[in-house]
């Protein structure tokens, strides 16, 4: 597969502050890549540079082999962009707005048929003649997405596409992005780990203007140092159960998180990532006749991953110095 987006040593500086500090990455044609990072990490800035809204202080951004600074119009034609705040004209109807974007992008496809198709894809056919200011947040987001995909751009960039939506809308939008990603190259940003896991092929973790991890989605958890955490609810004498749990090989930490009224308790057990302690725990408890009432992975959350990734990056930096 060939490279669609190539970013080399990108820097964006505001006075003394670096919003983006030496970022390099590549995105292949047809890939869905997620930018993951806390607010203010530089995700939006990177996207704004790629789409030509901002200029970089130094470094290169290329789309399909064209430099954004040298061929801004050609590059912009290849990109559909949904900014963090969808750029909607509230006093226009959805139809007027989409026709305006169609004209703005100088599309050559059949206007009526193309706009109808776009509306069908994002499911806004029935709101075409409503004013945008009367639409709910979820619909506004869809209209924004419709605007981004008008003209069938080869690359689509979504800045926090599910921000502020309700759970049903979030699922719809994620499905939509996956659907779009079948034929196109997509970059999206989010600060929700489960979102990138659900949608993206590859994840770039950005923190303080730097890429701290670049992994395929299926490897991301394995790649991140951190412990596997399970929550088990067990019926039995809690203090004895706890000490028995701690003795199981591979367990590095255990605690009682909740003591329930029926005499059971929920324990949090942590083990090394590569060791699965569920089976030994089960056999041990079965032997002692302490029934398991429930067992689930609590999983690492974004904060944990973050802390581990950032720590790792800092450690590596210190190592380099020494």
């Amino acid at each position: 597969m060939n490279t669609m987006i190539k970013v080399e040593h990108l820097i964006k500086q505001y006075g003394e502050r670096y919003a983006v500090n030496d970022i390099s990455f590549e995105v292949k044609k047809g890939e869905i890549v997620g930018f993951l990072g806390p607010n203010g990490a530089g995700k939006s800035t990177t996207m704004n540079i790629l789409t030509g809204y901002l200029s970089s202080t130094s470094g290169k951004a290329m789309v399909d082999g064209l430099d954004i600074l040298e061929h801004p119009l050609a590059v912009k034609k290849k990109i559909g962009f949904l900014p963090e705040t969808p750029p909607l004209y509230l006093e226009m109807t959805v139809r007027e707005y989409l026709y305006f974007i169609y004209d703005l992008k100088k599309c050559t496809l059949n206007r009526r048929a193309h706009i109808e198709e776009v509306c069908r894809v994002v499911k806004i056919e029935d709101t075409l003649d409503r004013m945008i200011k009367n639409l709910s947040k979820g619909y506004r987001q869809r209209v924004g997405i419709a605007g981004a995909i008008i003209g069938n751009p080869e690359v689509i960039i979504f800045d926090e596409p599910t921000n502020g939506l309700d759970p049903k809308q979030i699922i719809d939008i994620r499905n939509l992005i996956r659907e779009l990603g079948k034929e196109r190259t997509i970059i999206l940003s989010t600060h929700i780990l489960s979102e990138v896991k659900a949608v993206c092929d590859r994840i770039l973790i950005i923190n303080e203007g730097k890429i701290v991890a670049d992994e395929l989605t299926e490897n991301i958890e394995g790649a991140l140092r951190g412990n596997r955490r399970i929550a088990i609810r067990i019926e039995g004498p809690s203090a004895t159960v706890l000490s028995a749990l701690k003795k199981i090989p591979g367990v590095i930490y255990a605690e009682i998180s909740v003591a329930h009224e029926d005499g059971s308790a929920t324990f949090i057990v942590e083990s090394k990532n590569e060791i699965d302690v569920r089976k030994p725990i089960f056999y041990m408890l079965a032997q002692r006749s302490w029934p398991i009432l429930s067992l689930e992975f609590t999983g690492a959350n974004l904060e944990d991953i973050f802390i581990s990734v950032v720590d790792e990056a800092e450690e590596a930096a210190e190592h380099k110095k020494a």
Partner: protein, 238 residues
Amino acid sequence: MLAIFKREMRSYFTSPVGYMFCAIFFAVSGFLFMLNTVQAGENANYAGYFSIILFLFIVIIPLLTMKLVSEETKMKTDQLLMTAPITLADIVFGKYLAALTMFGGSFIVSSAIYYIPLAMYGTPNLALYIGCVLGVFLVGSAFISIGIFISSLTENQFISAFGTIGAIIFLLFVSSLNSYINNEAVRNFLSGLSITSRYSYFSYGLFSYDSLIYFISLSAVFLFLTIRVFEKRRWSKS
């Protein structure tokens, strides 16, 4: 550019702004015209009407320009325009043309209508009349360009409107300040800035290339500065 122009034109007439502009313009200009011609009797002078209508611009030009760029900045729709495959010049010029069409359209139509009673009851000099119309049109187009520039400096449309009102008042009255100033260099500088002294050539029926070029370059300079403001945002927005 055409897309921007069409959107702005539609926006004038889907909001009250376009109607307010037309209503105020036709009502006030009609009244001023009547005062200067029909009511003035022996002193009837349409050149006087054209000189007075410049002062109407203090109110109506900001009405057209106040939202043009500031609203885009505020609603973040500038992000759509700046990431679309068009140049900044397309954006600024499209907006300028829309405001110019609103202003020029109403002004030229009204002037054509006002000529009818003049021709019916008198013998107006058509060349002088057209000279006045051209002069006022050029002044208006320069003010629109200044209004767009001021609108690009703020995201608050009221600040944009008051800024433009201030700028227009300054340019219209700067020549009357001149008599209070003793320093000749300052006086020359101020009269160079004055719009009214440039305009007066047209009202005497003199076609002056100097003034024509002055007004066109005034428009061009402020449109260019507006493009620079957009450009600068690319570098310094945080």
